[in-house]
């Protein structure tokens, strides 16, 4: 019974091949865009970081990320119970070769002794770690960054300062790899080297402190206690989980969440209208046939199921093609753009996209199908066309 209905639906779907193909194409393009947008959304807001991330916090200037903190805060934060380790780091900014986006990557001045203690998801070969730690001008780069810009061990890299009035001459001594694909896209170098190059007046400041907690339970309390420490200082702090910190970074781009979701919504709505129009057209052409089927003893419900099944077949076909395209595209984007390094067309996004395709199929056909199947047989048979 089910199989017969599906068979009929398939034959009807192929009735007007060109129209079906165009519908499948437009649904797949929309679902492709939707899939990519949902992947971006997912990467920003829902992706679990590495498990180590649950233990980490970031302390920054309360006013904004562009303001710094005195380095001596480190000693006081260290005394907060539950803080196992912490590391200062400063966003260097600067220019490598030129301003083209493909030459952009994050560069941090940090403490080479501690950075890989806290970011345990990065693995460095021991001899490279030693080389990185023992040379004042050494730099460590992530594996995906090294692959992208073709960095080799021993290579000299010049970075022109912009936030800081100094140019850095660095030598790559270590390449570290993240256990999650493509998360290793930054460069780290010695904060001491930067400090020495700076004029006296600009020394002694730090961008952020990365804190490693003893346990995940201690994290909220540490955040509170650290901020309480500096409540009456000239430079107050804001301490939050690393995950929340990353999201606040994203929100600097404006209200990305609302923006993404409204584009997705508009996209779904548009394709729903297109699909409804097409289904309406193809149902109207078949009013007489529907009357014939009912004359033969088909119930309205069965004819309705057949029409909806046809629309679902079409929209799922479009959905699958669109998901395939989105899967391919998110792979390409992941390789190319830093902001989207966490991007992947994950199973939840796949399921959501397909459910949307399914819903489009059902909703687009339900109204015309209801109208046509409710029509009395005599009216349907008298229908011309």
């Amino acid at each position: 019974m089910f199989r017969d209905t599906l068979g009929l639906a398939l034959k009807n779907a192929l009735r007007n091949r060109r129209r079906t193909l165009l519908t499948v194409a437009s649904i797949s393009i929309s679902l492709f865009l939707l899939g990519v947008l949902l992947s971006v959304y997912h990467a920003f807001y829902h992706q679990e970081g590495p498990p180590e991330q649950a233990l980490r916090l970031v302390t920054r200037n309360r006013v904004s990320l562009t303001f710094s903190l005195p380095e001596y805060y480190e000693q006081r934060i260290r005394k907060v119970p539950g803080v196992r380790e912490l590391v200062p780091s400063s966003w260097f900014g600067g220019v490598y070769i030129d301003n083209r986006p493909e030459n952009f990557f994050p560069r941090f001045a940090t403490d080479p002794e501690r950075i890989f203690e806290i970011y345990k998801e990065f693995t460095v070969p021991p001899e490279q770690l030693e080389a990185f730690q023992s040379e004042r001008t050494a730099a460590a780069v992530g594996k995906s960054l090294a692959e992208r810009l073709n960095f080799k061990l021993g290579q000299r890299v010049t970075i022109k300062g912009d936030i800081y009035p100094v140019d850095l001459e660095l030598t790559i001594r270590a390449i570290f790899a993240a256990d999650v694909e493509n998360q290793d896209f930054a460069m780290y170098f010695h904060r001491k080297y930067l400090e020495e190059a700076l004029p006296q007046s600009r020394r002694g400041m730090v961008g952020t402190f990365g804190i490693l907690a003893d346990s995940a339970e201690a994290v909220p309390r540490i955040a509170r206690q650290v901020d309480d420490l500096f409540r009456n200082s000239e430079r107050q702090t804001k301490t939050e989980t690393e995950r929340a910190f990353q999201l606040s970074f994203v929100s600097m781009l404006g209200n990305v969440k609302v923006f993404l979701l409204s584009i997705c919504g508009a996209l779904v709505f548009t394709i729903l209208l297109v699909a409804a129009n097409t289904m309406g057209m193809s149902v109207r052409e078949r009013i007489t046939e529907i009357g014939v089927l009912k004359t033969l003893g088909f119930t309205s419900g069965r004819v309705l199921t057949m029409i909806v099944a046809e629309a679902v077949l079409i929209s799922l076909a479009g959905g699958l093609v669109g998901c395939g395209l989105a899967w391919g595209a998110s792979g390409v984007l992941r390789q190319s753009q830093l902001m989207l390094s966490g991007l992947s067309f994950s199973p939840p996004v796949f399921l959501i996209s397909l459910s949307i395709a399914l819903a489009i199929g059902i909703l687009s056909s339900l109204v015309p199908a209801l109208g046509a199947t409710r029509l009395p047989i005599t009216s349907a048979l008298r229908h011309s066309g």
């Binding site: 034959k11 004359t295 003893g297 309205s300």
Partner: protein, 233 residues
């Protein structure tokens, strides 16, 4: 011989509301049809021939009156039961054939069987038999557009008889056909009536076609003229 009454219609009225107008399609129709009869209905356009057929086929309900077909009071049936009843008891043939263009001849004929409990295999066999009966064994896998009008109508007849209904209703079955194809269709209908005992009610405009029937009834302005009444000019 009450059991042999296939159709018993009493005081049938059918009205349609068209905008502000009340269109009377049937009024005061009394009709009985015996098992095994071949009745032709004639009358001018708009006289209510199709309306009468639709009511007997349980496709439509009268506005007033009673109608019993094969001993079943059709007005008692709910929508769903009416559909099942049609599927089991009625074979309907249209003037314009009304085959489903995306299905082959055999698939078209199998359609009514999709609603039964027959297996795939059994359905295929029944369809092949029905197509054999109308002389189209060699056209089973053709699509409607690959068939002539006469062949299409024969497929439609096969579809109407495939579930072995007792009654065949045909609404101007030869109206769209050339003389030779029409003759073939009428021959098949006569055979179904004579050899297979089917009760046939056929609407036609063509006096020649009507002569194949055992009885001719005339409709005029929604009224069924008395049996044996002279043919209106």
């Amino acid at each position: 011989m009450v059991n042999d009454l296939v159709v018993e219609a009493t005081d049938l009225h059918k009205e349609f509301q068209r905008d502000a107008f009340q269109v009377i399609a049937l009024q005061d129709v009394h009709l009985t049809v015996q098992k095994g009869e071949f009745v032709a209905f004639m009358g001018p356009s708009g006289s209510g021939k199709s309306s009468l057929l639709y009511i007997i086929a349980a496709i439509d309900r009268p506005t007033r009156g009673r109608v019993k077909v094969l001993g079943r009071d059709l007005l008692q049936l709910k929508e769903r039961a009416m559909a099942d009843w049609r599927n089991e008891n009625i074979g309907f043939i249209f003037q314009t054939f009304n085959l489903i263009p995306v299905l082959t001849a055999r698939e078209n004929v199998e359609l009514p069987l999709l609603l039964t409990h027959l297996s795939r295999q059994e359905r295929a066999e029944h369809a092949a038999t029905a197509l054999g009966l109308v002389g189209l064994s060699d056209r089973m896998d053709h699509y409607p557009r690959q068939l002539s009008g006469g062949q299409e109508q024969r497929v439609a007849i096969a579809r109407a008889i495939v579930s072995d209904p007792s009654i065949i209703l045909a609404d101007e079955p030869t109206g769209d056909l050339d003389a030779q194809s029409a003759q073939e269709i009428l021959t098949i209908l006569s055979r179904l009536n004579r050899d297979h005992g089917k009760t046939i009610l056929m609407v036609t405009h063509d006096p020649h076609a009507a002569r194949h029937a055992s009885k001719i009834r005339y409709l005029e302005k929604g009224q069924l003229l008395p049996e044996g009444a002279p043919q209106p000019e």
